[in-house]
Symmetry: C2
Subunit: 216 residues, 2 copies
């Protein structure tokens, strides 16, 4: 689970934290390992991954600045986390969380609100993964990602993607090839522009929204 808290609490939190940096690509949470610590992202973005034994992987989300990671339900991490690029993290013990929650009861409400938001997002993603076409998935992603990411793009219609095509594919339940082809078709259809691989411009938001909703 991950989420955002207010600055006031973050200050108090930081007193209990150990700051650390991780290099690009580092897997700093491993699915199935003992969940003794949790993290707050202070710089960079992580991909959150669930895997099958044969290597198939599903990215269940991306965690940007401010998000909490590793607040597992059980004693074991339900998913892994890997740095998309260089990251900065604050590391806490789970005991520290209990202490903080006792100190700031309002935190409980905040965590609940965050969990609900994530649940809503997860339910939307189930609809996407279960019933949408590749084209609809990409359109939905391009519309929803900027909101989900903590650092929105420079303008409304410029999307800066810190992840690779393979990550997008694993997030949308597709293959790299299909993501690439589908983006090309959206580009050909003048719905988006792709000045560089990591940057996408929305040229026709209304059409993109229609596609995302399955109306085209």
């Amino acid at each position: 689970m991950c989420g955002v808290v207010e600055d006031a609490d973050l200050t108090r939190l930081s007193e209990m934290a150990v700051e650390c940096e991780v290099a690009a690509g580092t897997a700093f949470i491993e699915e199935g390992q003992a969940a003794d610590t949790f993290f707050n992202v202070t710089a960079g973005t992580a991909r959150l991954i669930k895997s099958l034994p044969d290597g198939r992987r599903q990215i269940i989300g991306f965690a940007g600045v401010g998000h909490f990671l590793g607040l597992a339900v059980s004693d074991i991490y339900a998913f892994g986390a890997e740095a998309l690029g260089p990251m900065r993290l604050c590391r806490f013990s789970r005991a520290g969380l209990r202490q903080l929650l006792d100190e700031f009861p309002v935190m409980e409400q905040r965590l609940l609100a965050v969990a609900r938001d994530e649940l809503v997002a997860a339910q939307e993603q189930m609809l996407l993964l279960g019933r949408k076409t590749a084209r609809e998935r990409l359109a939905s992603f391009l519309l929803a990602y900027p909101r989900a990411a903590s650092c929105p793009a420079r303008t409304e219609d410029v999307i800066s993607l810190p992840m690779t095509r393979a990550d997008i594919a694993d997030y949308l339940g597709l293959t790299v090839e299909t993501v690439s082809r589908t983006l090309t078709r959206l580009r050909t259809g003048r719905v988006i522009a792709v000045p560089s691989a990591a940057m996408i411009l929305i040229r026709d938001r209304a059409t993109l929204a229609s596609i995302a909703a399955g109306e085209v």
Copy 2:
């Protein structure tokens, strides 16, 4: 969002509730409508549905006895709910919830725990919908459904299904035909038995678990 609370709170809750019955098939929560009330299931099971404009639907979960429904994040229901069979419900105003939470601060913690459990389940379902084959999806469903449902089957290996094949299909992101064929193959392979359409026996749990994990 839905979940289970303790008897003590349920007693207090019931003082604020309006009991009501709904017939099989009734859509008692409509996706997109104003979320002014919420419900607690006291008998029966509901399917929770998200739909696309053209009629495609994804069932995001099943809510059995004890589950809360309609605790929307926004003022609008994020998904609909329909009775699988005749149901009994307790109806509350959202104002009543605020009142209850103030009265029992511990409720907040409970709701958080419930939301987390559902989030974990939702993430597991994302892996299923994004990356598993039809066979793996059915195996996972047969193993996970009895735990998710509040009323477990008579014995460990007997699963009683209150929903149709179409519901299972919409839950697993498949078609009715694929669900039917896949169950037939599992039956032929002696992994399960299907004495009647609504009842499934697990004959080889170990194999079913291997299939669900993607090892076969």
